[in-house]
Symmetry: D3
Subunit: 179 residues, 6 copies
């Protein structure tokens, strides 16, 4: 039976990789679904990368690290928390264990009868999406926070440049000229 | 002809009950539609309870208080203010009077030719959704702000526990691990 | 605990009334939710009346018949069968028994652990939505197939005229000039 | 005050042009909104062209014919007939007269208090969208049914080839390999 | 080939008019599409006017100013930045040049291979949507910031009154009584 | 670089397996994305199985057959053909080759500049989704048309029973009692 780990992976960093390694080691015979959350989002300061770009980051990072039996799946948000678990179970293959540190995710899955575990987080200060994105804008040391393959890929797609442009964008929510 | 009162009822408190009683007393022959607003929302700090849970709170509270001829109806938000009144009139039985203290609701219904009245609010400081929810998180005196039947029901469904968990949840908007 | 009966009620006819009466008699202490299905639909040959108009038909017919403890609720279709039960349980108050003759509805609720019963149908040939609608177009004897209060209401809203106009409408699905 | 003519214009043919000419001649001082219906649809046998392609056809045809004061506007379908008029009035500039031969469009606008007129149709057998599309598949005489500018444009975008390919497509509704 | 200028035009002010004039003068032979962004929004403090009202403002202002060959088109937001350009190109006639000062709009169109230019802004302090709206609430000198025809129209539709009412509305996002 | 094969896989049969084997053999170094089309659909005669169930069928069949480097991804339909390719490229990792026998899929991807190949079909009469589903209803020889692992799984989830029930369901499109 599979496990399920849901994240936004904006971008996929060493904290994510560490969690995935640990889970895979604990249940070597259970494939791990990597749910790419907020799959519809991209090109915002908090969600700069498309689900496809995040899928590619994960693929390259896991290949580099020699971690297998992971299955990335883009997951679209639905704005109905009360049916979110039913939504996921209808589009994913059977899973029996959910890994999350998110209180809402925990309560929703536990209410639906799932077993939920909190993966141990490694050096949460450095390996945290918000700080990695901030570091990409300011030109700092983000490269040390992501797997080498992800750093290479982010350079290929001009990730830091995109983040810097998005940081200029006013937070109006709408695309377009908004004078 | 019916009246219409729209609220989110998160949860249904004594202020709501007072308004309903007053309206029913003023027009004894007119059933009152209780529109449960933002029906799609649940499991957030501002909208902790599902529309179904709110429907049940209302049912129990009105039965306890002996108020009848009220009709709860879940109402989903649409993000098109300009068609909201047309949306409501198409799914509700005919109504000729709208009760609201909300300026936007007032302007939309008045522009559509409806009669709008502002129900008198009772002790708005204590009987106000935001403060009741805050009080449920901090373990305070929320029980005194809701009908007894609602207090009982909220204990049954572990309402305060849910609110405390949701207060831990970061405000990312998305469900999932979001490190 | 409540029961749930879902129908489209296009229009609410004597067959529906008979089913509701029987259910109410069997479980006198259990309110019955009358889910008005396909609430978003109206102004088509198969779904001529708005959810609001159907709500009004039901109210008048049940008042006339002296049937109480029924709660009409408009239900919007979602095109995700696999999450339909989760959707309904999140917006309705608790129910423990579902009445349906529809195989899909039965399988979805039974898979979710609900008790399902098939209500006995009365004279299905005459009391059947499709034939009532057809009879409204051809000017036949539809009045005998619906409660008197519904017949009166349908005349008030010019129901037969609307159905005759819609029968002229080509089945293009889209509103507009479609030459 | 403007007039409104809604059509799908798949493609814009001489029957459409004739109607537009007549309307413009009748009310020379009133601009005419040309609502491009089912704007979301394209690449199907019944809706082969995108809203943008239909916009361009209309522009070129009206420029060629010297008809001015027409304003093409893409209109997305909503599957809520009961709020369709409210939807249109909220996104279009004010209009006081609707031109349609469609019974549903007529009933919806008349119920909302609009004046509705049926434009005279010219040679409906030849100038009718379905037959023009069929003729494009079979290689027949479609060029004689559309304005010269539209014929030129349809050749530029390989319209007949697209229609022939779509005619091969099974009517499954879904894009993809569907064996 | 056309140009494209996307804005929310809440309301259409002299800064917008100046940009439109300049663009039309630079490419006299190229019609200019005026994309009315966030067309679904209205009746909020940031988006007070419907797309239809904004369409009318633009029409009157351009007629007054004698600017022609502009084509207003309501554009609905989609919450998928990654497909936004594909969305626009499918509903608009062909365009080859995009005018924007918005970094996100720029990056999305440039990534799709479009030529993008930043129109020169005139007196951005005075001619800026947010300040015009604020001035309408406080009763200040907004009339000097919009074309005369827009000032007249805004008085006709009681625009300042609407803005003042909306300023009273709490920012809950949901319509309804939200105590 | 990856390849992409989109199908509905209702269910995953030997024809699908043969195509996958051939593609994997032709480009051994290129992972193959298996897009599970119409992911939102289930519990209908044409789309009986959820995306999750189809994901599981594919996983078991490929494990049994020893085919690796395949990545199943649920794909939701969007009713906008003109933006479908942009939608897919935004949620999938990069791919350079699309396998399809579907004319619409071919034209959409070719117009977007993708290389498209038609996979050779094996014994299309027997190995075709519609006939396999029909055979599951009539109790025939469907087991010979699917991989052994799929036959086992379909028995586990009572697939044939579900199909037989759905065959009883009238094609009203709506869930619910529809008398």
């Amino acid at each position: 039976m599979r496990g399920l780990l849901v994240g936004r992976f904006q971008p996929f960093h060493l904290g994510h990789l560490s969690v995935v390694r640990t889970i895979r080691a604990q249940r070597a015979d259970a494939p791990l679904i990597l749910g790419i959350g907020s799959a519809q989002a991209s090109h915002t300061a908090d969600n700069p990368f498309t689900a496809g770009e995040r899928f590619e980051m994960i693929s390259r990072a896991l290949a580099e690290a020699g971690v297998d039996h992971c299955e990335p799946v883009p997951l679209f948000d639905i704005d109905r928390h009360a049916v979110w678990v039913a939504h996921l179970t209808s589009i994913l293959p059977p899973f029996d264990l959910v890994y999350t540190n998110n209180p809402l995710t925990r309560v929703l899955f536990e209410d639906a009868g799932f077993r939920v575990e909190a993966p141990a987080l490694v050096d949460r200060v450095r390996f945290e999406g918000t700080s990695v994105r901030r570091s990409m804008v300011s030109g700092d040391t983000w490269r040390e926070c992501v797997p080498t393959a992800v750093a290479t890929y982010l350079r290929e797609i001009h990730g830091p440049e995109r983040l810097r442009l998005l940081a200029l964008h006013d937070a109006s929510g709408a695309v377009g000229v908004s004078r």
